[in-house]
Symmetry: C2
């Protein structure tokens, strides 16, 4: 099935790939938009406009894809400060807060986002919402030991909880061996409060609320590309 | 080397083991004090005063120990609501907030504590402090992918960070395959604020600040056993 937003993704991805400068440590997201960004960066290495990059990948899938395109991949432990990360998102609100995790790599994506000096998010305009949680559930990655106790806690917070499954119908497992719950809270009125609650549940490896992390958002629509910047002082 | 506090630990552990009633789901901590509690519970099963228990263990070591003593062990996923958990602590402050993790099982200990209706902490009086962080560093369990980025973040928060090693001198690995940093913050003036900061760092699997979790603390001294209760309304 052709992706109806494929053209928009390509335009936005090209715009983001043009931000990458030689010599930097570059964080690479996971998912369909991030894959297009990785391909565009591979093109730039191929045409000689980029060199001496070191990339930190947010999933095994992205690491494989990058290597195949000639992008040198290192680890976050070897390069713990990432100059620029380009990633996608499932939802973006007017404050540049995000929901991520549809691709299943939210844990490493959050770790890399928090280690990045500059996080640029690439989306098409269908991902822009007034309120996070409007388009879909919140992904929550849970460690195996705590699965059922976390399920109870999410329900107590008001969520409908479903177990994410893979293409084979069995429980989806992350690179870290965890499962993902898709927790439907409906539109989230106080994302900061919900994030703090979820941060305080020990069995949650990561949740999909990415608050105060994005520095810039590149939005592709049918009419063009809009590059939005967060004011410097807003980033906490 | 004989443990100078062994007599006190035994007295406090006996007091705690007497709280266990037949038929409950019982959480079992990890470490030297918890081991004495497990032994006392094994005695009670042996003498017939306890039966129909199901125990949730916070480490493989505790699970093995319990099984050897005839205590039936289940998983937290099968018994996600724990009626009573008995565990030790490294430090206890006047508000019954704790530092845990010297035994290396802090992640599962925190998950089980959060799943417990009643958490009873057993310590000897040397563990009682005015301010958490007075006796030792704060254990922080970190996922391998994020090790160096978390180290930088802990340093930025003012900690001296050391890597915990095992008896063989190599990095200590938790049951979950993570490493432990011992993060020396000195005496912690605002534990709630520090906990929120650490909760918000994605690469930290768990940290040793256990706030608002203990319901009762049993303190053994040379003169006897003091059983302290939290007022009901204080537990959040």
């Amino acid at each position: 099935m052709p992706d109806p937003s494929a053209g928009k993704k390509r335009r936005a991805a090209g715009h983001a790939a043009a931000l990458v400068e030689p010599g930097i440590v570059l964080g690479l997201g996971t998912g369909s938009t991030a894959a297009v960004v990785v391909a565009k960066i591979g093109d730039r290495i191929g045409d000689g406009s980029l060199h001496d990059l070191r990339a930190v990948a947010t999933s095994r899938e992205t690491a494989r894809r990058a290597r195949r395109l000639g992008i040198p991949v290192t680890t976050l432990n070897r390069a713990p400060v990432v100059d620029l990360t380009i990633d996608g998102a499932d939802e973006v609100d007017p404050d540049m807060n995000l929901i991520k995790g549809a691709g299943g790599a939210l844990f490493r994506e959050k770790i890399v986002a928090e280690a990045s000096s500059r996080l640029v998010i690439v989306v098409d305009d269908t991902k822009c919402v007034d309120r996070l949680g409007s388009r879909g559930p919140l992904p929550v990655e849970v460690v195996p030991f705590a699965r059922e106790s976390v399920r109870r806690k999410l329900r107590a917070l008001g969520a409908k909880v479903s177990d994410r499954t893979g293409p084979d119908g069995r429980p989806f497992l992350t690179d870290g061996g965890n499962r993902i719950f898709d927790a439907d809270f409906g539109p989230i009125r106080t994302p900061r409060r919900l994030a703090a609650r979820l941060d305080g549940i020990a069995g949650i490896a990561a949740h999909g609320l990415f608050l105060d992390l994005a520095d810039e958002v590149i939005v592709a629509s049918d009419t063009g590309v809009d590059h939005r910047m967060r004011k410097m002082q807003e980033r906490t």
